[in-house]
Symmetry: C2
Subunit: 343 residues, 2 copies
DNA sequence: CTGAAAGCGCTAACAT
DNA sequence: ATGTTAGCGCTTTCAG
């Protein structure tokens, strides 16, 4: 038997006042006598009144909810990012509604429309690997609902963004390998429709050129950067007449695949082949050899994204000046890219 | 300039029909002529109508949202669990609202009340490490809102539960070490107010007794199971006149702390000390030596939790028969508990 | 099959 | 300082 839900009208009736007075008392509005305010709040607590925010949301046309869409929740980068968002959102009294696209464009679209129908006040997105058109975000732009992209952004869309400088990071990773004495540096990239991967790759290419090293087509493989992709890629490379002596991987997972394969067949890291990954996954400092990589400040990016989004929501003026916040990456030098002299 | 929001009344006016007819058409109710249904849907698509689910929710007193409260989002077990929940929820047309308690009771309470005010249809919870009273869940029980606990459950609360058999798992881990020839087995436990940790510990104790091994107080340390706790615990153990020759750790993180410390000071694993962890974290199969551990099926637990919760929501009868679903753990034997003959 | 009317629970004018 | 009234956008009787 469902207990009848308690509303402000119940309180109003009991105390012989109007519902609007109860509402004011509950929100300590300035226009309320201290006496009634106290009376109302005391009684509300006594009978266990809990506001129905759905009703309030409808009336105020504001839900204090923000949506997040990520490819996968259970990936360290994303779950740390979400954790950062949640921290700020909670502090500022927003709910966080989370969905994962599973890297499927169709699911991403459904999610985005569904979040719109839920009247979220703002949306934070990292695109699916498939996403090559952005019509589903128009709804938010047309209705002036703030939108922040991070990590995998929509380059053609005019919105706020939280990113790291992938070009610079790719450049730095590659330069590091060059400085360590490696001469034939290969690269495993993710899908280059995604800006993050094309930028990392371009940074890699630029670094080679700036150091008068040749850019060889056979030294660049594009994949989905899974562990198996790493293994397949290194096999490819080893078949070449002059295999590379170092590899800059688009992420740590593919680097892991390489490391495990090379260990299996007895090629030494970093003596024979040096490796740098990307992201600083939790395992990267724990495997043998430990993996050099670029750390992205996921949690802090989440905090920044939430702060920016909520700021946009709360001073809801049409921003003409979309911000692109570039967060710093950190090159973490570990064993996989040490030179002989370091060892 | 905010575009005026499009409602069913706009459609009704344009097509000279009643709003209720539009509503019926949009939900292909049985009582609607095919002609009007098509006309309405075509026009709705044409002008880009999107339903306001907040309004619908208020009217129907159902939000199709479920809440999840976990201690931390960015922990593999929890993010995988959430991922499983999200998968099922999406399939069944539910939103998932996620919050993290950060292991703080006060935050957990706030979250739970806030989710109630958001009129969620059901709630999935793993308790904070601090939680020792459960009054905040009464609200849900009194109002007949389904509640599913998982992992860190409330033993005194009569609800549905998704768990693994921690007692059995602790027993199995310990028995495994005994079978491998270890004689002096220590245990690092988490806070024993949490059933999962007390059960693992009790399984450990039972296994010792069943094998006629002494249960020594100085071989059992209770901590928060962080990496540093692992390091501190092993230091403690090594100070004893007869230090243990194996350790069953309440989680993989503390086991990691032990492994790194033992490697540093040159004690060999598993020759000198054998180790078994708990959870099969992503790093556990990658570190050296690889860590023996008990795998919990996090993603599948999330799926099960969501399925059970949604079933409860949709046939909203008062269940007198709360279910406790026990999911299987898997003992994964890796290098850290191999005996000499295995090596 | 369609329309009219009421109302989910709350808040924000506008009065007093 | 408080009450009255009118919705927010939708669904669901109840009539016809």
């Amino acid at each position: 038997m469902k207990r009848k839900t308690i509303t402000i009208h119940d309180i109003a009736k009991e105390l012989n006042i109007a519902a609007s007075t109860v509402s004011r008392a509950l929100h300590n509005s300035p226009n309320i006598s201290k006496a009634t305010a106290e009376k109302v709040n005391a009684y509300a607590i006594k009978i266990g009144y809990r506001p129905n925010w759905i009703a309030s949301n409808l009336r105020k046309r504001k839900t204090n909810s923000i949506g997040i869409v990520v490819p996968q929740i259970n990936r360290n980068f994303f779950s740390s990012f979400i954790s950062g968002v949640e921290k700020i959102a909670f502090k500022k009294n927003y709910n966080v509604i989370i969905s994962q696209s599973n890297n499927l464009l169709e699911k991403e679209k459904k999610i985005v429309y569904s979040l719109f129908s839920n009247q979220i006040d703002g949306l934070i997105v990292s695109l699916s690997m498939q996403t090559n058109e952005f019509s589903h975000f128009k709804l938010f732009q047309e209705n002036n609902i703030p939108l922040v992209f991070f990590d995998r952004i929509a380059p053609s869309l005019n919105t706020d963004r939280i990113i790291v400088d992938d070009f610079e990071a790719g450049y730095r990773a590659t330069t590091h390998l060059i400085n360590q004495g490696y001469k034939r540096i290969a690269h495993i990239s993710g899908p280059t429709v995604l800006e993050i991967y094309s930028s990392r790759k371009n940074g890699y290419i630029k670094a080679l050129k700036d150091n008068n090293l040749p850019v060889k087509k056979e030294y660049i493989i594009t994949s989905h950067l899974l562990k198996e992709d790493g293994e397949n890629s290194i096999k490819q490379f080893l078949k070449l007449k002059t295999p590379p002596d170092a590899i800059f991987c688009g992420n740590d997972t593919s680097a892991l695949g390489i490391i495990m394969y090379l260990k299996k067949i007895g090629i030494k890291i970093p003596e024979d082949i040096g490796i740098v990954g990307f992201s600083d996954e939790p395992f990267s400092g724990l495997i043998t050899p430990t993996l050099s990589t670029l750390r992205q400040p996921a949690f802090e990016m989440g905090e920044k994204a939430a702060e920016l989004l909520i700021e946009r929501i709360e001073k809801n003026e049409n921003p003409s000046d979309f911000k692109t916040i570039v967060m710093p990456t950190t090159l973490i030098v570990r064993e996989s890219s040490k030179t002989k002299k370091d060892l």
